[in-house]
């Protein structure tokens, strides 16, 4: 690449903030909509400083009505703006589903391409804070089932910034799924402009015995598991798809052709989660290479209980380790 890259450590929260700030500067028609996004800086602080820099017209805080807020964001997007709307907890997508699914995702299609919807819906998974069944869901699976939407789900600061930059230059509705647990995690992020394309999985750690496809907060958990398993001479490859639609099946399939064994892991409830889709796609691409059934390490099929009880439901590195050992017959 010839150019020197200057790195700093940023948290994922700072990295997303930076992506938004840079694009707010570049694109005068970019606006942010939501609740508590003004001087308050967003429920989880991702918008810190943006209100001060860009003012109340472009960082537009509003009444508590998510459905109309997403509708407004769509309306602005189809009329010359680019909108970013925040839904504080992923559980609240339920309040705006029609706007996301029937309007934003399908409009470009059923209007024959005449209408463009440059819209980013940011939302956060809060599965590991003990905030109870209505504040702990990981619902990404619903959205890969909606043609017309793209779905990004980064697991670290570098990817989050790069994917957000891509999202903010795309002209389609994008669901951008963050994770409260990851906001404070740090990694190297270049000072220089860069972006991460949609549809390219990232091999987070190479390995040869088992492939672990991990999503969102399960990426660091799986890396920690891989580290521990490495100490037992078990070599685990960890792959983060980074975007679920488009999904980079090829990178995953390549890994499977090498390892023959796959575990897919996410916080979301097991039944009907994205692991099933990823599994099916792996089967379609690499059936002959599979030495064992694909295994899911996922949330239990119960609502996430509140308080200190959530770790009994939401998966963790220990469950990944157990699954790997079991798969290898150890």
């Amino acid at each position: 690449m010839g150019t020197v890259t200057t790195m700093r450590q940023l948290t994922m929260s700072q990295a997303i903030n930076e992506a938004l700030r840079e694009e707010m500067r570049r694109q005068p028609n970019l606006i942010l909509l939501g609740q508590d996004i003004g001087a308050y800086g967003g429920t989880f602080g991702v918008y810190r400083g943006l209100f001060d820099e860009f003012g109340p017209e472009r960082v537009r805080d509003g009444p508590l009505c998510e459905s109309a807020t997403v509708g407004f964001a769509i309306g602005a997007a189809i009329n010359g703006m680019r909108s970013v709307v925040e839904l504080e907890f992923m559980d609240f997508v339920t309040v705006a589903m029609d706007q996301i699914v029937n309007q934003a995702a399908k409009m470009h299609y059923f209007f024959g391409g005449q209408i463009k919807v440059p819209l980013v819906i940011r939302t956060a998974i809060v599965s590991r804070m003990g905030m109870g069944s209505q504040h702990s869901q990981s619902l990404e699976a619903w959205f890969i089932h909606v043609p017309g939407l793209k779905v990004a789900i980064p697991s670290n600061a570098y990817d989050a910034k790069g994917l957000m930059k891509t999202a903010l230059r795309d002209t389609n509705p994008i669901l951008f799924i963050e994770n409260v647990k990851l906001y404070s995690t740090k990694c190297d992020v270049p000072e220089e402009e860069y972006s991460v394309p949609f549809g390219r999985a990232r091999v987070m750690r190479e390995g040869s015995d088992v492939t672990v496809v991990a999503i969102s907060a399960m990426v660091p958990e799986s890396l920690a598991a891989a580290e521990k398993l490495g100490a037992q001479n078990i070599s685990v490859e960890v792959i983060d798809p980074r975007t679920l639609n488009p999904l980079d099946v090829e990178t995953i399939a390549q890994s499977v052709r090498k390892t023959g064994r796959v575990i897919i892991t996410h916080d979301a409830a097991k039944t009907g989660g994205v692991a099933a889709e990823i599994s099916q796609r792996i089967m379609e691409e690499a059936f002959d290479y599979l030495n064992a059934p694909i295994v899911r390490v996922a949330g239990l099929d119960v609502p996430v209980p509140s308080g200190a009880l959530h770790p009994m439901v939401v998966p963790n590195q220990q469950r990944v380790i157990e699954a790997v050992l079991k798969m290898l017959g150890r």
Binding site: R58, C65, I74, G75
Partner: protein, 329 residues
């Protein structure tokens, strides 16, 4: 039932303009009759929701808008699309699922769109386009384009949460928006007396401090007068208006759903208040001749015939096209 204002407005209008509105109303009427015929012949699958009997609202409201102004409407929005200037040929082709349709044939009767004429789409989910219209108006306000946005919807829609959410936000943010409620007394089979406790839907706007007015929707002049005031108000930056246009629905909800009236007579009630003969007799009063009106009606028929002809002779949508436009590249 022309009120003082309506007469004032009517007198300020040129005969040419009045004849033009008459032609537009007739065009919409013939267009919808043609659509119903096509449906009966099996050329349209799914359903279609004629706006017959409500032409006065579409024409009166759109006449008060500039060409650069924007509208959004419902599945019952063929009339508004035509009144706003969308090409009848492309609309008819769309309704017949032809490749030459305004949405390349993929939208159909309930999803029409013509950005070049400010038609930002008709919607098939009741009330969903109301917040979208709020966002459209917000963009105009933020970008200071001077455009006004009008959103058309029904009495049924005014019971949906998103309607209220938008009412509140639009009022709060003083958006350049006119919410045009076509109260045709029914949401499929549910009569307004079974969906609201107050006499006027406009009361809801009052509840969030929004300027509002109840209008005789079968009188194109009354609609025009009220809309003109609302549009001026919005254009001056003074905020939104809620216009409740009282009207009567055609004899069915759609070509698919019966609509259920208490009796056959109720189903024909719209004929008694039909805005077209009503407007016609006004036009005769102000000195426009029967002949001039017949000429306009004839032109309307010809427009619709040409649209029907165009649509029928257009190719179907290709299988490849079905796969396109899911994403913007």
């Amino acid at each position: 039932m022309a009120s003082g204002t309506t007469i004032d407005v009517a007198q300020s209008l040129s005969h040419e303009m009045l004849r033009h509105w008459y032609e537009q109303m007739q065009t919409i009427r013939y267009f919808e009759e043609q659509v119903i015929e096509f449906f009966a012949k099996g050329l349209i699958s799914g359903s279609t929701h004629p706006c017959i009997g409500q032409e006065g609202i579409a024409v009166g409201a759109c006449a008060a808008l500039e060409p650069s102004d924007l509208i959004l409407a419902t599945y019952r929005g063929h009339g508004e699309c035509l009144a706003k200037g969308a090409d009848p040929k492309k609309l008819m082709a769309e309704i017949l699922s032809r490749a030459t349709g305004c949405c390349k044939g993929k939208g159909g009767s309930m999803h029409l769109c013509d950005v070049s004429h400010g038609v930002l789409g008709t919607n098939a989910v009741v009330a969903a386009h109301i917040p979208i219209s709020g966002g459209v108006a917000l963009a105009c306000q933020t970008r200071k384009t001077g455009q006004v946005t009008a959103c058309f919807f029904g009495d049924g829609a005014s019971c949906e949460g998103e309607f209220f959410e938008t009412l509140n936000m639009a009022s709060l943010w003083k958006l350049p928006l006119v919410l045009v409620c076509e109260n045709n007394e029914y949401a499929i089979s549910v009569h307004v007396s079974k969906s609201q406790a107050t006499p006027n839907i406009a009361d809801r706007a009052q509840g969030v401090g929004m300027r509002n007015q109840v209008v005789e929707g079968n009188d194109v002049l009354a609609v025009y007068a009220a809309m003109r005031a609302a549009v001026e108000h919005a254009r001056e930056g003074r905020g939104p208006t809620f216009l409740e246009c009282k009207t009567v629905r055609w004899e069915r909800h759609s070509t698919f759903s019966a609509g259920r009236y208490e009796n056959a007579e109720a189903a024909q009630k719209w004929r008694k208040v039909d805005p077209i003969p009503r407007f016609k007799s006004h036009l005769l009063t102000v000195g426009i001749s029967e002949g001039a009106l017949e000429e306009r009606a004839e032109r309307a028929r010809a427009t619709v015939a040409a649209a029907a002809e165009f649509a029928l002779s257009s190719p179907p949508v290709s299988p490849d096209a079905i796969l396109e436009d899911v994403y913007e590249p």
